[in-house]
Structure formats: C-alpha cells, structure tokens
C-alpha cells in the first residue's frame, strides 16, 4: 500500500523486516487499526518497532512520511512557501522561553497556531512568534523551540501526528546503546570446557553410575559429577584516548560484550595510552592515580590467560622504539616495543584487534608494521573478532 514508508524506515536505520511488514498488512486488512489515524499510528509502531530507543526515529519518519498524504489542508500555500526557504543559522533559545513552551499543552498550542494563521501576513523566519523556520517560535520547522507544532503537516492531521510529532521518546533515542549482541555471540567461541573446577555436583555421571551399579550387584547407585565449565581466562588491554577517541564507542561496545559474556572464568581489563609502557590503568580515563605497574600485571597474571590488545597501533615510531615521552616520564625507561615483546613472551595466546585496520593511513603506518611483526593483528569488527578468537583458541 505505502511501501515507500517501509523503505524509508529501513533507510533511516530501523531494523524492519519484510516479515513484520506482512504482519502489518495483515493487521490492516483485518481492520485492527480501527478507523482512526491514531489507531493506525499505534498499530504500525507496535508491529514495526521493537525497542523504545527506536520510537523517536519511527516518530520522525512517520511524521515526515504521512505529512505528504493528500488531505484537505487548512494551511495556506504561501505559508508552505515561506517555510521551504532554507536559512543558515538556527537561533538559540533561552531557558525561560523554553520552560514556558514546555508548560503549554497541545490544545493551547493549537489555539495559538490558529491565531497566527489568521494574523500572519508574510514570511517570518528565525523569529520568536510567527510561523517560520529556524526560530524559537514553537511553530514552523527546524526551530530551536523544545516543543511545538511542526508546520507543515501537524495541524492538518491532528491526532496521530500530534502524538508522533511530540517526539516524546527523543530521550530514549540514544545512539550509544549499541547492539553488543553480535560481539557477545562472538565471545562465546572462546570456550574450553573442563569439569575440574569447584562447583556442586549436579550432573548425572552416566558412566560412573553404570560402573558403581555393577559393583553394587546391580542395585542402582547413582553418581553425580560436576558440570563442565568454561576455563578460559581473558586479559583485555585497551588503548584509550588520543587517536583512539574516535573509536571509543566501538571499544566500549567490546568491553561491554566481554563483561556481559559472564562465561569466562576470569576477565581482567586494563587500559593504556598509545602503547603499553611501564604503567597500566584500571580506568579508561587513564586517571594517573589508578594505575598498576605493568610488571606486576605480568607477574601476577599467569600465562594461561588469553590476551587481547585493542588499539590502532598508530603512533610516531619514536614512541615505540625509543625512550618516548610516555616512558620518559616514568622511572622505567623500557620502550613500548619491548613491553609488547614481553607480553608476547609471557602470554603465548595473544592477538591484537585494530579498529582502524582498513584505513589507508593506518595500513601504511610504520608503527603498525612493527607491532604486527610481533603480534598477529585483526580488524575490530565482528568478523575480525571471530577470526582473532579462533586464533586464540588454536595456538
């Protein structure tokens, strides 16, 4: 019926599947939306959107799409013409005005808009009162007003568009909530089962039961054993700050995935800047007070740990080879590359994940070439992570 809406939702990054679209069509055929536009809006939303953080994206798309549905409009054409003029700046809005606008309800606003429509005689953009673009008036579009009626569209339909237009779910549309699921799934690869752990004996040990029962002259004797658990221990070292700022979201996603996969026997996470030097930090902000000596980490964490280093491996060669700024400051002048070698020597199972693996500059960088000659490098993507984890298990 209105397939373009489906593609519009997809284009705006909403994970809508054909399956759900067919369900919606079935629902519409059966008249589940009721005869109201509001009912239609809620029907679409409950079938097509599966998380409240996508409500805002959906609302925006809904308003944008259905505002063009032909409908006997009350907004005079010259208003629409004024509104279509692009302006460069958006006016700032002060707190007082913003609070005042927030207190108005939809009804009051609609009344105000009606007045404006009667009185307004010409184009008013960047203003406080009239219908126009990029102002602080609650009417028009691209304005700075926190709430308001979006002209064009809103007043023509009322109901559903008022709800959608309110964009009540804007706060939840948080792009930081990433889908860590794929990373979590990848981490599941990292498993090595063993029953030599301390856990209550809860699983029926069939072989032992058969043996004991035979010894017991055929009288059943049931033996329980310990369940098999993952024995993998993981040490995660993450580059933070500087050129890694750009990838902080990706790294925090990886971190979350690793902590969420609670099937590891142990997980330790430390942070470094640029390259591993004599100090590691327990906090991604690299708070100088919260450090731990790298030497201590190497000593206390046994070689059975698998190590994943995350970083772009992109730095001046000096910072890697010689007494760099970072190592110069500390008492221990060991260069970064030496620390990398020590890690590799201590932990045979080590991989490096690089978030800018495919970037052209990174590929040509000398520092990366040096590090890559020590530790196998993979891109920090779902595929790269899987490949890296497989390597950790293999060797």
């Amino acid at each position: 019926m209105f397939e373009p809406f489906f593609y519009m939702l997809k284009a705006r990054g909403l994970p809508v599947s054909l399956n759900e679209w067919m369900t919606l069509n079935e629902a519409l055929d059966r008249g589940l939306g009721g005869s109201s536009f509001t009912g239609f809006y809620y029907l679409c939303r409950s079938i097509l959107v599966k998380t409240e953080s996508n409500f805002d994206k959906f609302d925006a798309a809904f308003v944008d799409y259905f505002k063009d549905v032909p409908f006997p409009g009350e907004i005079p054409p010259e208003f629409l013409k004024w509104l279509s003029r692009p302006q460069v700046n958006t006016k700032e809005i002060d707190k007082k005005r913003s609070a005042w606008l927030n207190d108005l309800n939809l009804e009051q606003m609609e009344k105000m808009l009606e007045e404006r429509l009667r009185e307004q005689k010409r184009e008013h953009n960047k203003g406080k009162v009239w219908v126009g673009t990029r102002g602080v008036s609650p009417f028009g579009h691209n304005g700075a007003a926190p709430v308001g009626i979006r002209v064009s569209g809103e007043a023509r339909h009322g109901g559903a568009l008022a709800v959608a237009g309110e964009r009540r779910f804007r706060d939840w549309s948080n792009d930081n909530t990433l889908d860590t699921r794929q990373f979590v799934m990848a981490f599941r690869l990292l498993r090595q089962y063993s029953s030599r752990i301390d856990a209550p004996k809860t699983e029926l040990d069939i072989d032992q039961t058969v043996r004991e029962t035979s010894d017991n002259a055929g009288n059943l004797k049931i033996v329980y054993g310990r369940p098999r658990k993952n024995t993998i221990k993981l040490l995660l070292l993450i580059d933070s700050g500087g050129s890694m700022e750009y990838y902080s979201r990706l790294c925090s996603m990886l971190f979350q995935a690793a902590t969420k996969s609670n099937h590891f026997k142990d997980l330790k996470v430390y942070y470094f800047h640029n390259c591993v030097y004599s100090k590691l930090y327990t906090d991604p902000t690299l708070d100088p007070k919260k450090f731990i000596k790298t030497e201590r980490v190497l000593k206390n964490i046994s070689p059975e740990y698998k190590v994943i280093l995350v970083g772009d491996a992109f730095m001046a060669l000096d910072e890697l080879d010689f007494r760099s700024y970072y190592s110069y400051q500390s008492a221990d002048p060991t260069p970064g590359i030496e620390w990398i070698r020590r890690i590799k020597r201590r932990y045979p199972h080590t991989v490096w994940l690089n978030p800018s693996f495919h970037s052209l500059i990174n590929r040509k960088s000398e520092s990366r070439r040096v590090i890559e000659s020590e530790i196998t490098m993979f891109p920090l993507t779902q595929q790269g992570l899987i490949a890296g984890l497989k390597k950790l298990l293999r060797d």
């Binding site: 009721g34 029907l43 409240e52 889908d179 860590t180 049931i222």
Partner: protein, 272 residues
C-alpha cells in the same frame, strides 16, 4: 469490532494504547512483548488480562538458570531408574515420568490460557531463540513418548523484559511490542483511586505534587514508581499527617526513595 476484547479490569487501569496493543497481539496471535520502567505494572498486566477475559493465568518465571526445555517438559530419568529397581510401580509407561513445563501446560490445557513469560531477559542469551518454533507453531515433540503436544487453544502470550540483555532479532520480529510509559498525573489519579477509593482530593493533590516533583529531580538514581506511591499514601494516611505538610516535609521519604544518596539529595533540594 470483533477483536476488541480487553478493556482493562476493575483493579488495573490501562492506557488506551496498551489496550490496543493487547488486542492487536491477540488478534494476530502473536506474543506481546512488554517493556517499561520498573513499577509500571508489566507483570500485573497478565493478571488483569486473565481476570478480564476469564482465562486462567500461567506464570513462567524466568531465572538466569532457566532453559527453554524447562518450559516444555521434564523427563525424570532418575525416578524411573529407581522405580525399576525397587519394584512396585511398573515403569513401562514413560509418560508417567514426563511432567509438562509451564509452556507445555498452557498448550495441553482444554481451555485457553494466558501465559506470562516473566522477565525473559534474565535467561541465557540463546533462550528466546530456543522458543521460536514452539511459540510460532504452538506445538512441540516429546521424543521419549513419540507424542506431539499441540495447543488446542492458542494461549495469549505476554512476555515482559527489563532490558537487561538485548533480545535476538529473530525473536523480536515475531512479537508485538509495547513500551509502558510512566503514567501521567491524570492516569495516576485513576490508579490511586482504584487502590484508595475514599481518598480525600486535597491529600491526593499534595501527594501527587510531591511525587512528580521528586521524579522530576534530575539526579535521582532510582525514581519512585507507582507501587511506591501507593505504599506512601498508605503510610501517610495511617499516620494521619495533615495534607499541607506533605509537600513541605515529605514524610516517610524512605518509602519513596530507596537509596541514601537520593534521600539526601531530595532533602537538600527541599531545603532550598
């Protein structure tokens, strides 16, 4: 319209949108996935539907150790082995040792049930995916007895989630989704009236003013919810506190706020 069946019940106040979502899910025969702030009555919804439609409610509480299999059936091998040893009972009838789980119970029932799968996000990551077939086809196979349990009447399935884990896409695609928003003052009035039909108007006004003021404080870590305001009213009425003191002093703040930091913060804002 034939699908409009659920309208809320006497002791459970629902918004129009939620009623619609329930009816859409029932008409399309799909599970309804409910999310929302704690205390917005996600679990209560299933009870209300069961009351309103006169169907029995089956609750399947999900824990971190719950497996999909637990909801279908459990085969008690050990009991059968013991019985074979110590005689008395005949062990030929495997069916005796098969007990149905909550989902199996709902399927096997003679009449239509409401099935609540509570807090599905508590379980293992794979859990929702393991139930896809069963929820789609409303049947499962028991290899031990060679029988297929098929739902005679498709149960109304309500699933709640607190968003502790992300749910798999394949699972989400099969659900109808509704997010219960925190009730606005108008709806909250209705809810309070259901619990305290005789509440004085001025007490209620002061309580709600104080309540929404606390919720509006930006740094509160754990915002008070519906169930807390209900308890709070009980405390205020029991102590017989005069209504003009409610907003001024916020008595029994511990009923509303469960964290020390939040109470301190609220007190410092109140002093200003």
């Amino acid at each position: 319209m034939e699908f409009t069946q659920f309208k809320g019940s006497e002791d459970y106040v629902v918004s129009k949108e939620l009623t619609d979502a329930v009816n859409i899910a029932m008409a399309l025969e799909k599970p309804l996935l409910i999310k929302g702030e704690p205390g917005t009555g996600k679990t209560m919804l299933a009870q209300a539907i069961s009351n309103a439609l006169g169907m029995d409610l089956i609750i399947w509480n999900i824990k971190s150790t719950t497996k999909a299999q637990d909801g279908l059936y459990v085969y008690d091998v050990v009991q059968r082995l013991y019985d074979s040893q110590f005689g008395g009972n005949t062990v030929d009838d495997i069916e005796k040792y098969i007990s149905l789980g909550k989902l199996g119970e709902a399927f096997a029932s003679e009449d239509q049930k409401v099935l609540l799968i509570d807090e599905i996000d508590k379980a293992d990551l794979e859990f929702p995916n393991d139930l896809l077939w069963e929820l789609d086809k409303m049947e499962f196979y028991i290899p031990e007895t060679g029988k297929t349990i098929k739902a005679k009447h498709r149960p109304v399935v309500i699933i709640t989630s607190n968003a502790e884990k992300e749910l798999p896409g394949a699972f989400l695609r099969r659900c109808i989704f509704h997010y219960i928003e925190f009730p606005n003052e108008e709806l909250m009035r209705e809810i309070v009236h259901v619990h305290y039909p005789d509440i004085e108007e001025n007490v209620l006004a002061h309580v709600l003013e104080a309540f929404y003021w606390i919720r509006s404080l930006p740094d509160i870590q754990k915002k008070p919810s519906t169930s807390e305001v209900i308890d709070w009213i009980a405390a205020i009425r029991a102590a017989g506190i005069s209504d003009d003191k409610i907003r001024e002093t916020i008595p029994f703040a511990g009923v509303l706020l469960k964290k020390n930091e939040d109470i301190d913060l609220m007190r410092s804002k109140l002093a200003k």
